[in-house]
Subunit: 128 residues, 2 copies
C-alpha cells in the first residue's frame, strides 16, 4: 500500500445516477437527454449543503438498462430503483430516503420483488 | 406505466467498474488509463459466458474517488471494494465472489470497516 493512499471511505449509501447518452433518434431515449447530468449535479449539491457528502456518495453511472424509465437512479446498499427522476425531486429524495431511510413511493420503479414490499431502511447515521 | 416497459430486473449483484478519464498528466492517474474499459468488457464477457448476465450486472461508473487504487471496482449490495483490478483478475472475481459469494482477499482495498471482517456473502442463486 502506498503511504499516499487516502483512507478508504465507507459510504452508508451510494447513489448511482444514469447519465448515459444515446443518439437523439434512438427509440429508447436516454437518461442524459432527460436531464441525468443535471439530476446528478443537484444531488451532489444537496448532499453538500447538508454536509453528508462523505456519508452518501453520488456517482455517475453508465446505462442502467432502464432507459424508458429515465432518469434512472439506484440507491445502494438497499437496491432501490427510482425512475423519471427530475432535479426538483432531489431534495425530497435526499431528505426522505438518503437521510431518513424511507422509500419515496411516487418515484419508485415498479416490479422490485427484491424489496419484498419494504419501504423503510436504516436512517443515516450522522455523528454529532 | 407504459405497456412497453420491460420488467424490472432484480440483480443479485451489481458491479460498478470505474472508467473515469483524467488528463494524462493528472497526479492521481485514472482508471481509464489503467484499463477500466477493458476490465468492464472482460467482466461483461465472463458474466455472459456463464449465463448470469441477468443476475449480475456489470456497469460503468464515473469516478469512485479511489483513483490511486484503480482500476476500482465495487460490488453491491455488500459494498466490497476492489483495487488494482486487471482483466486477468476477472475470471477469479466472477467465480469466487460474484458466483460464490467469497471475497477475493488479494484484490481487496484496505480500510473497509463496514465489512466488519466479513469475507463470505450469499452465493448467487441460479434457477436450474
Amino acid at each position: 500500500m502506498l503511504a499516499s493512499w487516502r483512507r478508504m471511505p465507507s459510504f452508508q449509501r451510494h447513489v448511482f445516477v444514469c447519465i448515459n447518452e444515446r443518439p437523439a433518434d434512438h427509440p429508447k431515449g436516454c437518461c442524459k437527454a432527460k436531464g441525468g447530468v443535471e439530476v446528478r449535479d443537484r444531488l451532489k449539491d444537496e448532499l453538500g449543503k447538508r454536509g453528508i457528502s462523505k456519508l452518501v456518495r453520488a456517482n455517475n453511472a453508465g446505462c442502467l438498462d432502464q432507459c424508458e424509465r429515465g432518469v434512472s437512479v439506484v440507491v445502494y446498499p438497499e437496491q432501490v430503483w427510482y425512475g423519471g427522476v427530475t432535479v426538483d425531486d432531489i431534495p425530497e429524495l435526499v431528505d426522505k430516503h438518503l437521510v431518513g431511510g424511507e422509500v419515496v413511493d411516487r418515484l419508485l420503479m415498479p416490479d422490485q420483488p427484491h424489496l419484498a414490499g419494504r419501504h423503510q431502511f436504516p436512517a443515516l447515521q450522522v455523528k454529532k
